[in-house]
Symmetry: C2
Subunit: 552 residues, 2 copies
């Protein structure tokens, strides 16, 4: 449906383009500076290979979900510098820059670039490149920041969402409510998209729903409740029966029910807020089939639950089934249990089994730890609405993907560092995931691209990339080649899955991972190894490049 | 220049619209749900007042910078639902919704809304509303999420940047390098914009430079250096003298200088990387007036500094002054001191005083604490390049602004909560900042709008909003009214300052704040008080609304 929203006021056009066709100017100045230095020093025909990878899993976990590939491919399709970009760059860069360079920029496209990538939605691990970008040095260098930007946050967000899903379990619904706390409207849009990919069921973000066809959900704010001061604020009081269409006075019916229920629920009608009752009745009249409301504006136990049950029973009289409640404050474990008890009591009393199963949504400042703690305490929540901590990835707000040159003009390049973890893996590499008999992933193996792939049923020597003595033989029962060509000769060369497809891939891929790699507390690291040939290749190159230095 | 970038590929159009004309669909579904419930229950003519405020300063600090107002006003100007929005909402909302509601939505604008606000760029404090939004209940409710989104991140970012500026001091340059770690390209764009507002001097983000006229800065990546394996990679070796235009062999000249300098710097030419030298020469030939390069690709002391000085001295022979170096790893305090010593030694040896003052940029994973620690250790850094921690606001990734109803149809509303900090201040309020004789802000005072403003030279009773016994008299020497009308009758009614103007406002406003409120460690809280009349008004309403409950 996206292509229908053509310009008009600009906003939708704005978002659509920003989400589907990143073109050139999303870059850091140093890319242009480097491009000119390369161009000026006659390196226009140099070809290079860059790896895009991260060094550490986020959130103290042992896995990451790879996301953002589709947006990268769209960016490559649209990559070019417009006249106005060139004009701006001419004004901004030193006047000494030769004008032929700008002519060169004007004609650049990504058609000579080839991109290998891991499938979007896959579980991925540190050091295994997510993207291998090959092509003219100047161009692949110019792609750097945009590719990083599109993958960093997307993958972080999808990983965060997947972790919430693991913490909450499969039976609970997860809704993303984070727009107001995101990095502006478009940051919020990315958050909604990748929360859905990572395993959330819906979002409050209407634009995300509209653009990406994600289910949208939402009830009302506390201000909705407080805008009703009493039953006199209720201008429309009637609702027609679902089946026979007869009009009934909802206020009257609800007040009767409240009186009757008060005795069963051991609360006092006088303590329940009339403003809240009026607000709930108005909501029920507006959404008789979607009656899902906040019950904590005044007091959950003494006002909210009583008012809710009264309106829900009145709706029941008129042929409608209420949906449930949302609790946005207080002790969520305790209150959800009290709410479930109340619903069960009413269900038993009036022989309405569905009433015991009304949905309980909880939504106050929830993060992964809150969910785990609620699980331990025992709660009766069916759905979490999660905002701030999800979209800001509060526990670790950046993934830290990097983009490193590993080969130039056929020569491998290594970036040395005093921190071993920062040494890059030189050369063009292939990556394989080796599986055991039970279907679980055993290890990821990086090889030089020139090597033969590992074979099912044959011993494969897997080595730690830097620690000489750490080696193991693995006999895989299944070998998955991790890279496919996604971009070549100016075209996307794989069928693009739908957002739904990527979302399913996340769950399929996570299932291949052993439980102990996925747990929240002290998860077992998943191993990434190199082949014997790649090991020797790295270490030979290391010795060639490292200066003989001071005493260690 | 913005209006020139008309559509074309979409991307610039996309960003421009997304940064200048947020229209309606950036919202949470519950706003539409509420709107329908209001509409259906005959509350179309209800008028309400909402306050937008935060409850706690971010980053364990005692101040916040208010930013995002300009974007809010542009949003109000463009606020409406397009045909396609309506179509989407019709498909998404329950089919029971009356079609007249969609006709009503179609014609909505913000023309009956009035917005009072504090000046953008001002120092602000918890509980003092940043915006007071008055108008038809349904419409002001529909504005909620967009206003929150536009102000939350903008203010958080500007505050973060202002804190970095305070930590770094006025003499040091601050550059924002965060695009690759932001919440997607547009999250990065907001980050660049508000980092500049908060006190940064420039950004690496080219699009931010183009759209907002922010200075852009950048050198090159480590991959630029490693793309040169030796001096044979140097295809262009000559550079013309700045004045006489005579062509010189830079490679030859640089090698001579390297040999000579090696003895003075007590390093060995053989230990310095030839690839690095070639890369630096190529960069110098491309940017003879902008020679600013990374020196830590191999080894700062044994390779980078020697190569840099050799090329800088060669440039000097040809009439050019080098700019400086960037260090992106290692012990920044130690390395910057070593670099400064080296520059001073060369400056003295060759009687080139400017050489001692070459710029040293540092840029590895820097945050506020790193800067403070570097200050303590004593560093010689002139400029920090800051990315991840700045743009993700790692220490607290969300501000937590809320949007609460305080009045409906002339009746004050109070939102009670078991947490006193969450109780809202009812009614339409004015806010004043009272200043002392030395020009410092003493206290912010909230009053009921109907009260007379506090007077210069007269005793003003300032009360803690919730603690009865906390009261003080203040005699202001200057009284600043914090609110101005910014939006009325469908128009922006204040002259909008430039981005530069807002940026200056931040520093002017911060100067009125006592140093102890601004310090990093245990800052003194700045007080926000209420007038005696507002105090009584709140507490009377509280007693009227709070149920008499269980024993406390």
């Amino acid at each position: 449906m996206v292509p229908h929203f053509i310009c008009g006021t600009g906003i939708l056009c704005g978002y659509i383009s920003s989400k589907t066709s990143f073109s050139a100017p999303v870059l850091d100045l140093y890319q242009i500076t480097m491009a000119y230095a390369y161009w000026k020093s006659g390196k226009k025909k140099d070809v290079a290979v860059f790896d895009l990878f991260f060094r550490q899993n986020p959130f103290q976990g042992e896995f990451t979900i790879f996301a953002g590939l589709e947006e990268c491919l769209k960016f490559l399709e649209n990559f070019h510098y417009s006249e106005s970009d060139i004009t701006y760059l001419k004004e901004t860069l030193p006047s000494s820059i030769e004008s032929e360079f700008f002519d060169y920029l004007k004609n650049l496209t990504a058609k000579d670039v080839t991109v290998h990538a891991i499938e979007e939605g896959s579980v991925v691990f540190p050091r295994v490149p997510l993207l291998r970008v090959e092509g003219p040095l100047i161009i692949v260098q110019l792609l750097e920041t945009t590719l990083l930007t599109l993958i960093n946050f997307a993958s972080l967000m999808a990983t965060n969402a997947a972790r919430y899903r693991i913490a909450a379990g499969k039976q609970v619904s997860l809704l993303e409510f984070g727009l107001r706390r995101a990095q502006g409207p478009d940051g919020g849009l990315s958050a909604s998209r990748y929360a859905y990919v990572g395993g959330f069921d819906g979002t409050s973000n209407v634009l995300a729903g509209k653009l990406f066809n994600i289910p949208v959900r939402g009830t009302h704010a506390h201000s909705y409740i407080t805008s009703f001061t009493g039953t006199h604020d209720l201008h429309t009081k009637t609702l027609r029966h679902r089946v026979d269409g007869e009009e009934h006075d909802m206020l009257d019916l609800c007040q009767k029910w409240r009186k009757e229920l008060a005795t069963h629920l051991e609360t006092l009608t006088e303590e329940a807020s009339d403003g809240e009752l009026a607000a709930l009745i108005a909501f029920a009249i507006a959404f008789p089939d979607g009656f899902m409301v906040l019950v904590d504006t005044y007091d959950v136990k003494r006002s909210g639950l009583l008012n809710f049950c009264a309106v829900a029973m009145a709706l029941n009289n008129l042929g409608y089934k209420a949906v449930g409640i949302r609790i946005d404050s207080g002790d969520l474990a305790y209150l959800s249990n009290r709410a479930r008890e109340t619903f069960t009591l009413v269900a038993d009393k009036y022989d309405l089994p569905w009433f015991a199963k009304l949905t309980i949504v909880a939504s106050n400042d929830i993060n992964e730890e809150t969910i785990l703690s609620l699980n331990e305490q025992g709660h009766k929540i069916d759905c979490f609405g999660i905002g701030t901590h999800l979209v800001t990835c509060q526990r670790q707000p950046a993934l830290g993907c990097v983009y490193k040159m590993v080969e130039i003009n056929g020569q491998p390049r290594i970036k040395l560092s005093q921190e071993v973890a920062k040494v890059t893996m030189p050369g063009c590499k292939s990556a394989y995931r080796l599986y055991g008999a039970n279907g679980h992933a055993l290890i990821d193996l990086l090889q030089r691209s020139v090597e033969n792939p590992p074979q099912v049923g044959e011993k494969v020597l897997c080595r730690h990339p830097f620690e000489e003595s750490k080696r193991a033989y693995v006999i895989p029962t299944h070998v998955e080649e991790l890279y496919k060509v996604y971009w070549k000769d100016g075209k996307i060369v794989q069928n693009q899955p739908t957002l739904e497809g990527i979302r399913e891939r996340v769950q399929t891929s996570l299932r291949t991972l052993r439980q102990d790699h996925k747990r929240n507390l002290n998860p077992t690291p998943y191993k990434v190894a190199v082949s014997d040939e790649l090991y020797n290749f790295i270490h030979d190159l290391w010795l060639q490049n490292a200066p003989i230095g001071e005493l260690f």
